[in-house]
Amino acid sequence: MAGTDDLIKHYEDRLAAFEERLRRIEESAGQPVAATRPGLARTRAGTGLRLGVDVGGTFTDLLLLDERNGRTYTAKVPSTPQDSSVGVLNGIEKICASAGIAPSDITEVMHGTTVATNTVLTGSGALVGLVTTKGYKDVLQIARSYVPGGLGGWVIWNKTPPLAPLELTIEADERMDARGEVLVPLDERAIRERLKVLLESGIEALTIALFNSYANDAHEKRIAEIARSIRPDIPVSTSAAIMPEMYEYERTETTVVNSYVRPVVSKYVSNLQGELKRRMGNGVLLQILRSDGGLSSAQAAMDQPVNLLMSGPAGGVSGALWIAKQAAFDNLLTFDMGGTSTDVALIEKSVARTRRETRVGDVTVRAPSIDVRTVGAGGGSIAYVPDLTKALRVGPQSAGADPGPAAYKKGGEEPTVTDANVVLGYLPSDARLGGDMEISRDLAVKAVTKISDALSISVEEAAEGIIRIVNENMVGALRLVSVEQGYDPRDFALIGFGGAGPLHANALARLMNSWPAIIPPGPGVLCAYGDATTRLRNEASQTYVTRVAATTDAKIADMLKDLERSAATDLTAEGVAGDEQETLYQIDIRYHGQGMKLTVDVTPEDFARDGLTGITSRFDSEHEQLFTFALDAEHEIVGLRAVVQGAEKQFINSETRHAGTDASAARVHATRIFADDEWRDAHVYDRSKLVPGNRITGPAIVTEMDSTSLILPGHVGIVDNVANILIWPEGHPKAQ
């Protein structure tokens, strides 16, 4: 049966490649016209300073990267939840001061944001009105008729109401056929009358999603014009512009979610962009990280915020990928613990698992995203003891950024996870949090005493209980991305980052048996790192459905050439010189009658030589490898795409010194920590003084500008060549 196994192995490899391509297809679907959209041309000063900015619930992290010499600067400032851009601007001032540059020296700002996600999670989006084709107003009410669960799942399932309420849905008298030809012309007078009523009913955003508009969106565009002429202040999203694909429900839902988050996101991005321009000059380029780890221009982000639902977490995963590549770990569990929540994801063979759709709360849209799971537990999670059960609970309530944990001296009184870390000595009171914040152990003890009194135990026992419970919650999330997907966590290393990740990473690696626990340099700003190191690329694509027999090599070659020009123009405008650009053609193709499509990659040279015959035979063999069979059916082209990308940035890491195992030069002072039921002697180390090869025997605390790492008793931390701390159980064969 070796033959079968080989076949299946092939199949799986192909499946992975296939998924990757689907991701890319959808990525391009997300912004199909970015390359040709007018008004996006930008100039680039070329000083090469890139700024990554990640806004979390508690802190705003910044990372400044000088592409010319690979040097980095980091900064951390408190987030400003009422208007996040205030925190961003504070951070910029701070980082410019520490790097000794003027804000106007920064040419690119890359930003991961949770604004869109929070809007959905808190239900604070816009009131959305919807226009459908006549006969289709129930499109969201009926959805795909799918009921989750097994046989009898309908007994307990309740459907959540559509984000565009049915009472705010109107129908347009119009109809396109599947080939995009007008069957029923748009009745402009009737829709104008209905729009007047709808637009004055209190809606804050409008979605227009007409039947068959993926084939021809002329009516969608016309209705959008009419709507704008009535109420220019209400933003309009049209479905073919957001998701130019077949399937009316998915397109409508995705567009409605876009409308739902759009006013909030637009306001945020445009404020931020305005402020950046004021400080950095009009030439500054703001780009927003998309859910799938790609980059989006500020304008595209404001028009298509549905692609940003996972923007924040994607930055962390991108950063972890970057670190993993440097440190040569292929399989990673990423663990990003912030103040209010924790995001986990799985990276296998240096590829982050992605999904074809994005899910936030109850909402699912057709926009690709990195598969990130979020739990509502972080450093700010509040511990409490319910009177009735006398159980110790942690979260999901959070002290957030304001007032924050009691130890931060900002008026917080409730005991949080951070306070427990302080009580146990894991977070020494002389640790620096963003450099400027002080920690009070007395206030932390006072807060945690609420718990120890309620449970009649010592304050240390209460604090350790809080840590153990919150760790167990994290384990639940890590199991979701690993065990529950069929992966064995023992085959993965665990990378801990975010403000609180390095404090908990060792304990989690122990619970999951995932070694080593990796603490990257600058763990508090890894998301910002991910934001800043994302590679520039551009695509232009076109849906073009035709049977292969009905077209010619020459026609397809011309179309691909046009797409290539279109994609390259924008990249050139962004400062990537023509000779640094690589072009790849992609042809989406399937058997006529199939629903899925495969993407065949081909270089311009190969297409010129082999033409469509080369494509169809490649498709047949890929189909056979992927699915174990090929058919003698007709081939059908579904779409064409040209991908142009700049060369991958190589950032030189400044850590090149290599020394012995002795880390004593980095010792700051002795301390005591409480772990495994007793107080123990430990040392505090200064991370900036550690050099590759150093070994730190636990228990130990490692502090740095933005973060504090904990190495537990019985474990050892080893500094690798790129300045990561790798924590192993003492005596682990790889810890030698």
């Binding site: 196994d5 199949y11 289709y136 959805a143 009472e167 009658g593």
Partner: protein
């Protein structure tokens, strides 16, 4: 005769203790493998029935053939016991013959493939999957002939056959099968899609064994089966009272498409000690037409288990472990156990009705947990012919009615009662078939009134753009999806065909070969779900919201005693109407079927539906059921 299993390695498995973490990992890995089987299938299958609607069901079983993950329970045990031959590494079996696998599949359209999974010379697991093929030959396109009297009219019959032998595809057999269908390309693609899914399951099972070792893997599966048995044992004790009293419930299929009906299915339930006993003896005998349903007893157990466990632990990975705790008696020759060669193709109505029956049967002991009726059918629409270029087109599509009102809340409008099923996107239909969908909307007021409203049915307006023929299989055009606990029944299903010349006709619920021309529009209107609880107690604001959403009309609001005029709630008129209605209402009934007796229902059939009532069926060998 029992199959002979050829194992190169005779070492028996030994049961070892499995720690809870490992058990969870194995369980989740198997759950994931099942999901991956679906994913591969849906990507590569061509027929819309599988590709878009997901009419296919995967399963992974232990080496004894007991389902460990899947949906419709394990028929493998029966297959292994009934197969007269050898089973060895590299074999894959195919069958579509209900009579040779004791109803594991219940009509010829379902191609069932079963693959033993070996590891180092030992049988360690089974993977199986069946999918509904759009066409398997027979007398009508779609292979679901309403008027078939024998199974031979319904397509090519394939008894359990090795379609792969020691790893090699038996092309000639596959060729014969494909030559006997109107849609060979779809069937071929769907066939290989299922094989690809089975191979994936094999790969995953072997990975698990490599990871955990064979004894741990096998023991983990046993543990999972035990866990279910324990859970189901507790549930059975909880919901079925012990003793002599037998709960009884009956329901009907309206007709057989040949003018006879209704056909009754009936069941009693009681518990003796640990064991729940279901007895279908009072059901009607088999029909002369194709509405018979060969119900596999094991499958019924699975229906029962899956249906009830949702109330207690919807996350559990459901399996076969509890089968010993249930006994099912179905008499030979009844409509649920017809004798060969009775026709079976249109068993869909009975299959759905079994769930309404089970709900009514179980709910009598616990009215708060009782759901209304709505699991009434899977409305089928078929459309085929040669287009103007002379190319054959053929569509098979399953529709959805309203989910019934439930203790948990209102029934969703136009949603599926079948797991995993989804509708076919209308844009897809228009892109690939000579059709335009003029309207796709919920039918106001079709859901039964209740404290929790029954879900509305759907109207689909199919405009044909080519000459062709349509077939329909549907029910609940005469009897209603019943309401419970004071809730009202849902609206019946109807089908109207509007011709280009302006004429309109009612189309019966079961018919074949209705000729259609370009421009003709079929309005296929599905039934609404029954209502749950007293409609007079529904919050008037909720009724008003439904009116604003077009789900209930202003007139329909009166069924709730709610007066809405020009979009506004008339509070005073509502109070007075509700008072009047409450005074008139008698004792609240547990079940509201919308009729007193079958005879009374038939008397008003013509007036209300436009159709003559079906005549009482005549059975041959009627004694079999008495």
């Amino acid at each position: 005769m029992t199959a002979k299993i050829i194992e190169a390695n005779p070492t028996p498995f030994s049961r070892v203790a499995v720690d809870p973490i490992t058990l969870d990992i194995v369980e989740n890995a198997l759950r994931n493998a099942r999901n991956e089987m679906d994913a591969v299938l849906f990507r590569t299958a061509m027929s819309p029935g599988i590709r878009e609607q997901h009419d296919a069901f995967p399963m992974i079983a232990n080496q004894e053939g007991k389902m460990v993950v899947g949906q419709f329970g394990s028929f493998l045990y029966g297959f292994i016991n009934g197969y007269d031959g050898e089973i060895e590494d590299g074999d894959i079996f195919i069958t579509n013959d209900p009579y040779s696998c004791n109803g594991a599949v219940s009509h010829l359209n379902d191609w069932l493939m079963m693959m033993p999974i070996f590891h180092e010379g030992r049988l360690v697991s089974w993977a199986a999957m069946f999918g509904h093929m759009t066409d398997v030959g027979g007398k009508v396109p779609g292979s679901l002939p309403t008027d078939a009297k024998m199974i031979y009219e319904e397509g090519l019959i394939v008894p359990p056959t090795k379609i792969y032998r020691q790893g090699g595809l038996q092309d000639e057999i596959l060729n014969i099968m494909l030559h006997n269908t109107r849609m060979p390309e779809w069937n071929k693609s769907d066939f290989f899609a299922i094989i690809a899914a089975l191979r994936l399951a094999e790969r995953r099972v072997r990975e698990n064994i490599e990871r955990f070792g064979p004894d741990t893997y096998i023991s983990a599966m046993w543990d999972m089966l035990d866990r279910n048995k324990q859970a189901m044992g507790a549930i059975i004790q909880m919901i079925i009272p012990e003793g002599d009293h037998k709960a009884y419930f009956e329901d009907w299929i309206d007709d057989d498409g040949m003018g006879n009906g209704p056909y009754k299915i009936a069941c009693t339930l009681h518990r003796e000690g640990q064991v729940a006993k279901f007895d279908f003896s009072a059901s009607d005998p088999q029909s002369y037409s194709s509405i018979n349903f060969l119900l596999n007893e094991e499958m019924f157990k699975m229906f029962f288990g899956a249906f009830t466990i949702n109330l207690f632990d919807p996350q559990i990975l459901f399996n076969d472990g509890f089968y010993d705790l249930i006994e099912v008696h179905i008499p030979e020759g009844s409509i649920l156990k017809p004798k060969k060669p009775a026709a079976l193709s249109c068993r869909t109505h009975m299959l759905g009705r079994i769930f309404d029956l089970m709900g009514g049967l179980l709910g009598q002991g616990a009215p708060e947990a009782l759901n209304a009726a709505g699991f009434s059918d899977s409305p089928h629409f078929m459309y085929s012919g040669f287009d103007r270029n002379g190319e054959w087109y053929q569509l098979f599509q399953i529709g959805f009615g309203g989910i019934p009102g439930r203790p948990a809340g209102d029934g969703p409008d136009g949603h599926s009662l079948w797991p995993a099923f989804t509708n076919v996107p209308n844009e897809f239909l228009e892109a690939y078939f000579p059709l335009r969908i003029r309207e796709y909307a919920t039918i106001p007021d079709s859901g039964g009134a209740g404290l929790h409203r029954g879900g509305n049915g759907i109207t689909i307006a199919y405009e044909m753009t080519e000459k062709g023929e349509i077939s329909i299989h549907d029910d609940r055009w005469l009897t209603y999806p019943w309401g419970v606990n004071g809730g009202e029944p849902g609206m019946r299903s109807t089908k109207r065909l509007k011709r280009t010349d302006g004429s309109e006709e009612n189309i019966p619920s079961k018919c074949d070969r209705i000729a259609v021309n370009p421009g003709d529009i079929l309005y296929f209107n599905t039934w609404g779900g029954g209502g749950w609880g007293d409609p007079l107690k529904r919050d008037a604001e909720l009724v008003l919201a439904d009116v604003k959403r077009g789900l209930v009309s202003e007139d329909g609001a009166k069924r709730y005693g709610v007066v809405v005029s020009r979009g506004n709630l008339d509070t005073r008129a509502t109070e007075s109407l509700r008072r009047q209605m409450a005074a008139k209402a008698g004792e609240g009934q547990l079940f509201n079927r919308g009729f007193e007796t079958i005879a009374e229902l038939k008397n008003r059939a013509r007036r209300e539906t436009g159709f003559e009532p079906p005549v009482d069926p005549v059975f041959h060998g009627a004694a079999a059921a008495e």
